[in-house]
Symmetry: C3
């Protein structure tokens, strides 16, 4: 298993981690990414600046109701809820030594309770 770090700078932030992953792929059939945090997630989409802003706003917008009980502990219930919905893992096929991503697809780390230093774990299946 390999891993790398992601440094985030905002409360809710979408970060393009594609090059961190693709530079570590040499061979194999499947790349599984997994972030070991409960207030972050991993997904795939375009990383155009306006859709990046829209994603950050969308993830905030899904959670409008504010009286979550967990906020009596550490004020990040929304981050846990979205992480449980989007999930911390994604699997991407590998073809001829490269990630089989589409033209517009980027691998996106979703920070939901930043800024923080985060870890992404990578398992390449033969």
């Amino acid at each position: 298993m390999d891993s790398f770090q992601v440094k985030t700078s905002k409360k809710v932030e979408v970060v393009d981690i594609t090059s961190h992953v693709s530079s570590r792929i040499k061979s194999g059939s499947l790349c599984v990414l997994f972030t070991p945090h409960t207030t972050a997630a991993i997904t795939i989409n375009e990383f155009e600046p306006l859709i990046k802003d829209d994603m950050e706003r969308f993830y905030s917008f899904i959670i409008r109701e504010k009286n979550w009980k967990h906020n009596s502990i550490d004020s990040n219930a929304e981050a846990h809820l979205l992480s449980s919905l989007i999930k911390p893992s994604i699997s991407i096929p590998i073809k001829d030594g490269s990630l089989a991503l589409g033209t517009w697809q980027k691998i996106l780390f979703i920070e939901l309770d930043g800024p923080r230093n985060r870890t992404v774990q990578m398992q390449v299946i033969k």
Copy 2:
């Protein structure tokens, strides 16, 4: 890696792709499906006509707010947002040469910006 095409006919459409996948499975331990698009997704659920209609309405309903910035570029921000939430990939165990799906489970391609011709990639892990 194998792949097949899906032709969609509506803006938001849930398409049952189970037979495309199951007919290609002969052996292995895991089937990973991945669609290389940023305005579509893959999930699993029942494919009864009324829940199909409900799913298509539900995915539209999650995105009620309309002033997404990316719509100034190509009017499909909602499709990107839902694709980032539902995600383009699903992993299904294989048992004795067949997909280990439950009685009511079908593999569903979710078109979010159709109609289009779409690709689904399939990686079977030994």
Copy 3:
């Protein structure tokens, strides 16, 4: 492929299944969990009592609109919709014979139409 049972006691209930999974892991590179039901899901998050309550409320809250067509058949359209959104599968890397979960991460079975007896299937990839 291995499997185990989960007994749920409420309509919407988040159940910690981590120990069921971790006790079955001896070696391998990847653990894929898959529940063969269309009104349940699997995710990963913290399992602190207040966030558990918040998750159960959150999943109910996403589906506020009640006039789903499928409810004319068996009154569980909301469960199908959420299951299609959260999805029935999660993949977790294995490192040195153990699940590579973070400090606060627990594997969570999400019952959306309980109480029921549910199955979780486990495939460990070499």
